[in-house]
Symmetry: C2
Subunit: 169 residues, 2 copies
């Protein structure tokens, strides 16, 4: 079989470096670790799909980091494995999902929805605790506040599909 280039990896050039910085900042806002921003960023600015080993070599990160980062990105639907790849190639290659709709959808599904849902449960419980308060004055206040929390979380839930719709072009 044709011997492929496994030599010294190409250095990160200046535009790539700036793209990585943008994505590292971006994912930090979303509460994700820098390595994830670097991985997605390099895939985003790469003209061809990259293997785990490409990421390790070019970003100078550990295999562990690359593997875990790719897993998270896959779960978010932000990265997909390229299939086929033609020749009998064992290694899997990754490419970024670049549709904002898809990225936002994945983030909401994986990172926001679960919090909304567990919050809803906790707030429901709070309502029960508030109802059980014996002092009428305190109970009235607690019910007012837990009701307010309930409205917050409901509004939060309502706004998500709207965001998705707007960002889907």
């Amino acid at each position: 079989m044709q011997e492929l280039d496994h030599g010294t990896p190409q250095e990160i050039d200046s535009i790539e470096r700036e793209v990585l910085a943008v994505f590292v900042d971006g994912v930090r806002v979303l509460g994700l670790p820098p390595s994830i921003g670097e991985i997605y960023g390099l895939l985003f600015i790469s003209q061809t799909p990259l293997s785990l080993d490409d990421l390790v070599q070019r970003l100078k990160i550990s295999k562990g980091s690359a593997s875990q980062g790719l897993r998270t990105l896959k779960s978010l639907g932000a990265v997909r494995e390229t299939d086929g790849n033609g020749n009998g190639e064992r290694r899997t290659y990754y490419e970024p999902a670049v549709e904002l709709k898809r990225l936002v959808g994945g983030f909401i599904r994986e990172q926001i929805r679960p919090h909304i849902d567990s919050g809803r449960h906790k707030i429901k419980r709070l309502g029960d605790l508030a109802s059980a308060e014996t002092d009428p004055d305190r109970r009235k206040f607690l019910l007012e506040r837990t009701d307010r929390l309930d409205h917050w979380i409901r509004n939060g839930g309502r706004v998500l599909p709207i965001i998705q719709r707007i960002l889907g072009q």
Copy 2:
């Protein structure tokens, strides 16, 4: 002057504990430290405004934490100082802002907008770097990607006022 109770602080009761947990979780999603969730949470579930010292004693946190937490919350518009307080009282008391509109507005203004704005600048710079690429094929690709980034951030900016409007009832 009338001697006020500066004795042993009241312990956090069970409903308060659960409210604190809800807010600690809540602010974590927003990328804020737990102490901020505790401070806001205790104010939220308190029937009267609390002083910095009340927070220190009831939450068992340091004065430094309470002071910095309150500063952040004030900057977000999530907490306000109660004025007057009648009697010649030197200490300032705090109460929570409980209107979702206000909270969301403050968060967007302080934590989201700055990132959107700085992102816009960095992406503009990326566009310049891409234009300077000499290889035509690579340049075409880079311009396509930086243009996409530009669309993302524009959409992000557009969606914020809509979120605010929806959450303002």
